[in-house]
């Protein structure tokens, strides 16, 4: 700033080659020109190579028939579906792993992190050993180990571990009964969402009332009642449908019911164990960063241990915890792409098959990058919003 100000004041005296503003622009133009030259070189080579290999560019291939199977699909999919649908199925699988992974890693990591601060020496040491064990070995190795253990240690479908004749655990995954499709379940889903929205409003009202009158309201219990109770009421109102699809052994594998595949289990368990070690460290350092006086003062005014944690320590620790936690959540999302190594059909895996079948490398990689960038940016936008909400309001 100082140099620039000097430069503009004495502009008349300095020759143009010593004027920092002009120098800055010349430097920028040179750098941008060099980058542009490199880009032009790469693009022109690419166009030439594509023409020579007779690969048509463009996204038209997305409407063609994919022709490959996908083991785990959340929406209707068959080999006759289009490439676009195959990639979308992969994206949904990535999101499924990411959302479940984020939730489970946060819960487990917080438990381990608080455990490391336990007054019980043994518990603290075990949690520390857990953190060091999972942090210092590559995630990919954990995924391989867990996947191989599941597929080798569990029996085949015929000798599946049978629990109550309805849960079957084998190296093909965990089969369990699910209710047959019924319109009641859609209504229950809507009731569930309504319950969540209602809880948000109740929580707001309760906070306002407590701020005004000091009267506490059992928000958690009321919220649980709304979120769990409303769907149950709807289910009863719809005549309580209870027809189930049961898994049955047919030939070499099970049929019917629902299955959690070993690839999915290995990926999720690996991601959660690995990331929770990092989450634990973040939580621990967040709590340790608080001044001891905070908990002492809270206890001195007569709050219970739970209240001290919930009302005084946690809101302050969250301010320290949220930014590094955001990058761990992004890591889970990005690391879920390791699915390709153990054969779980996530986004990268579907796109990779598409590249091999169509040869459209550039378009496909653009799709991967666009998808991950938009997921990453949405997660950071949400976490930044949350961070701003809990940030200290300084006056």
């Amino acid at each position: 700033m100082a140099v620039e100000a000097l430069g503009s004041q004495t502009k008349a005296k300095v020759p143009p080659w010593n004027d920092p503003v002009i120098r800055g622009w010349v430097f920028q133009i040179v750098v941008v020109a060099l980058v542009g030259l490199l880009a032009w070189f790469l693009v022109s080579n690419t166009i030439e190579n594509l023409q020579r290999q007779k690969i048509a560019s463009g996204f038209h291939y997305l409407e063609r028939e994919a022709g490959f199977e996908i083991g785990d699909t959340m929406i209707q999919y068959s080999p006759a579906s289009t490439y676009a649908r195959a990639i979308f199925v992969g994206l949904l699988n990535t999101l499924k792993v990411a959302v479940l992974g984020i939730f489970m890693a946060t819960v487990l990591g917080t438990m381990i992190g608080v455990g490391r601060l336990s007054p019980n020496w043994l518990l603290a040491k075990i949690c520390e050993a857990y953190v060091e064990m999972f942090r210092n070995v590559p995630l990919l190795l954990w995924l391989f180990l867990i996947y191989k253990l599941i597929s080798e240690a569990f029996p085949g479908p015929r000798q599946a571990i049978n629990v109550l004749n309805s849960f079957f655990l084998s190296n093909r995954g965990l089969y369990f009964p699910v209710p047959l499709a019924d319109p009641a379940y859609e209504w229950m889903g809507i009731a569930f969402l309504v319950g969540i929205v209602a809880t948000v409003f109740v929580a707001r009202w309760a906070k306002k009332r407590q701020d005004a009158t000091g009267l506490p309201f059992p928000t958690i219990k009321a919220g649980l009642g709304l979120i769990v109770g409303l769907p149950i009421l709807v289910w009863l109102a719809c005549g309580a449908p209870h027809h189930m699809s049961w898994p049955e052994l047919k030939g070499f594998n099970f049929d019917g019911g629902m299955v959690i595949q070993p690839e999915f289990t290995a990926l999720l368990v690996g991601l959660v164990l690995y990331t929770s070690a990092f989450v634990a460290e973040i939580v621990r350092s967040g709590i340790l960063a608080l001044h001891k006086g905070q908990s002492e003062a809270a206890m001195a005014i007569g709050l219970s241990r739970g209240q001290v944690m919930r009302l005084v320590l946690l809101p302050q620790a969250l301010r320290i915890i949220v930014p590094p936690m955001t990058s761990q959540y992004l890591n889970i999302t990005k690391n879920s792409s390791l699915a390709i190594a153990i054969g779980y059909p996530d986004l990268v895996a579907s796109v990779n098959v598409t590249i091999n079948q169509t040869g459209q490398a550039i378009e496909n990689i653009l799709i991967i990058m666009a998808a991950y960038l938009s997921v990453s940016l949405s997660i950071s936008a949400f976490m930044n919003w949350y961070n701003k909400r809990i940030a200290l309001r300084e006056r």
Binding site: A2, V137, L145
Partner: protein, 425 residues
């Protein structure tokens, strides 16, 4: 106070319950009912798990066997590791030449360990890394051909860097040396391009040539991680400076690059390097697969390192920048003499943590078919004679990774305390 009698009193020993091993156990394991129950449950659980593990890994394990069939029905099959450890460590490198990757690994570890000593942080370290890297790569390749063009280019680059970075503080003699080096490089390159100087290359070929496709195991993991960081470091510094720059175009380019790379998984960069890079190059020109992976790792690492260095730059008080400006230093002088020495000191511990991350992340190259340590471990399982013992091999590989990463993380913690000694209260 009035009740205290005057005169000396004998000092009593503290209660037995509060000191010594018994006091420690009381305080740390059985301080309350809940605590005691937790302790007992944990001891039972640990005992159960540990006895099961030892039963499998030691008491019923097979340490010597001709094939996997002899291990079946027993515990762990460590004979498999005994049979395959050379492959797991060095991959498909010619078997009778395994001493070469071994010494290359020793050289790289020696360089890393020397660099961990703060007394070595000076110009000597650059010389050590130059010589050590040359030796390591000579051992791996066996033969190195350096073309005259490359030598001239390095001379030009070194001379130019010397002129820029040392311009303000070098003696006239040193500066003239840098100028001469740059001039020789530039003139030589012009001569080479116009064809005045004939093509020539320096051949150092004491051993048989081994192509990168045959490299595998520990050396590959170490090279990818170490040289990934070595080359990404200056790149990351430039990106970080660019991101903090006042020049809008430079800032935009750097922010765009950093956020793009950080937003996508490493796998997508590796897939890009393996399928897209060949399309980018003029026809007929190919880049070695190993080099492509290394380039992907460098680009990836550069973006992350840039963010760490930016943290260091932001931690400097504004007065440092203003004081440098007030002294009349130009941008290069201000950055190299005042800002970077302070900023980089702050970021050394987080940089080591990043290195641990890269060391683990290099395992992803197995997806594009490079035989790093995890991939050779994986391949050792393929042998039908030894099929069915994945646990042993993965535990072995995990143990090796753990040794590397844990020692580095301890070192980073130690260094953090060391470097903060001056500023701690």
């Amino acid at each position: 106070m009035a009740d205290v009698l005057p005169g000396e009193r004998p000092q009593l020993a503290p209660p037995v319950d509060d000191t010594g091993p018994l006091g420690w156990v009381r305080k740390n394991l059985f301080s309350s009912w809940g605590n005691g129950i937790t302790t007992v449950v944990l001891i039972v659980a640990i005992g159960w798990i540990l006895s099961g593990f030892l039963h499998w890994a030691v008491f019923t394990a097979t340490f010597d066997a001709k094939s996997g069939a002899e291990c079946r029905g027993h515990g762990a099959c460590w004979a498999l590791i005994r049979e395959k450890y050379r492959y797991i460590f060095f991959g498909s490198f010619p078997y009778e030449q395994h001493w070469r990757p071994l010494f290359a690994v020793v050289a790289m570890l020696a360089m890393l360990i020397l660099s961990s000593d703060r007394r070595m942080w000076n110009k000597r370290l650059i010389a050590i890394w130059g010589v050590g890297s040359f030796v390591a790569f000579l051992l791996m390749f066996g033969q190195i051909h350096i073309s005259l063009g490359l030598i001239l280019f390095v001379a030009l680059a070194a001379g130019g860097l010397g002129m820029i970075l040392r311009g303000a503080i070098a003696t006239p003699g040193e500066l003239n040396g840098w100028r001469a080096l740059a001039a020789v490089g530039a003139l030589g390159l012009i001569g080479r391009i116009t064809g005045v100087i004939p093509t020539w290359s320096l051949a150092i070929a004491p051993l048989s040539y081994v192509e990168t496709g045959l490299w595998g195991g520990i050396p590959v993991t170490l090279i990818l991680a170490t040289y990934g960081l070595v080359f990404a470091f200056p790149f990351g510094i430039l990106l970080a400076l660019g991101r903090r720059s006042n020049l809008p175009l430079i800032k935009g380019l750097c922010v765009g690059f950093i956020e793009l790379i950080r937003g996508v998984p490493l796998i997508s960069l590796l897939i890009m390097a393996s399928v897209m890079l060949p399309l980018f190059l003029p026809s007929g020109m190919t880049i070695d697969k190993f080099l492509r992976a290394q380039v992907a790792v460098i680009l990836f690492a550069g973006a992350y390192i840039a963010e760490i260095i930016r943290g260091g730059l932001q931690s400097l008080p504004k007065g440092q920048f203003e004081a440098a400006d007030a002294m009349g230093l130009n941008y290069v002088q201000k950055t190299t003499l005042i800002i970077l020495p302070q900023a980089l000191r702050v970021v050394i511990p987080p940089l080591i943590n990043t290195f641990i991350g890269f060391f683990k992340d290099t395992s992803l190259v197995l997806i594009i078919g490079i035989f790093d340590f995890l991939n050779t471990a994986n391949q050792a399982l393929v042998d039908p004679n030894w099929a069915g013992f994945p646990g042993e091999v993965y535990l072995f590989a995990a143990f090796i990774y753990f040794c590397f990463c844990y020692s580095m993380s301890r070192y980073s913690k130690h260094l953090e305390i060391e470097l903060n000694k001056g500023t701690r209260r």
